[in-house]
Amino acid sequence: MKEQRKEAPGFLGKGLANCEIPGKSRFLHPYLQLFFSIVFTAAAQVFLKLGVDSQSYLPWNTLSNLFSSWVLAGVLAMLMSLLSWLYALKSVPLVVAFNLAATSHIMVAIASWIFLGEEISARRWVGIFLVALGAVFVARPLARVEDKL
C-alpha cells in the first residue's frame, strides 16, 4: 500500500493504472469512492448552510439547534465523505487524491449556485478558480509532507 503511494509521480495517469479494484464490485472502485467523497463534502456544506439558515441560530448557545434535521444531514454527509475518503486512500495515491479534492471548491460553488440560489459574481468565480488551481499546485508538496507524518 505504501509503495503504491510513493511511486505515483503522475497527475492522474499512473495512479489509474496502479489502482487495484478489491473484489469485483464497481461500487468499491477507489476512484468512484473518491468522487463520492467529494460529492458528500459539497452536499454536507449545502446541508449545513440550509440548517443554519432554517433557524435563528447561535450554535454555541443552543445545542438543541444542532439536531435540526439539515444539520444532522450535514454531519452525516461529512461522515460519509470521510469514510469514502479513507477507503479511497487505501489505493489512490495521496497526490492524486489531493488534486481531485481541489475540485470540491468548484463543486461547492456550483452547488450553492444551484441549490442555495446564491449569486456568484465574476470576481468571485475568478477567486474560486484561483483557489482550486492553487490547491492543485500545493497537492504534491503537501502529499510529501503527509507521507512523512
Binding site: 440548517g51 450554535p59 499546485f137
Partner: protein, 86 residues
Amino acid sequence: MSEQVNSPPSRRLLDLAAGVLVMTVGFFTWLGLLHRFDLSFLYPFEGLDRVLLALGAWLFLREKVTADLWIGVILICVGTTFVSAS
C-alpha cells in the same frame, strides 16, 4: 506516523482527544460563519488550510519550500483576496 505508533497508548488517546476537541470547536465556528455569510463566499477560505499546513510544515517540520508550493500558496492567497472583495 512512526512516532505515533511507538508512543504509549495514554499519549495517543490524549492526542486523539485534543484532535476531536479542536475539530469540534472548528465545526461550531464554521456553523456560526455559515450563518452569517454565503456558502460560495465562505468556502474558498477553506483553501487557506493548505496554506497553514504549508506554513506548519515549513516551521515545525523544517520542510524546504519548493517552487510549486510557493506558486500554490500565492494562487490561493490571491484567490481568497478576489473572493473577499466580491
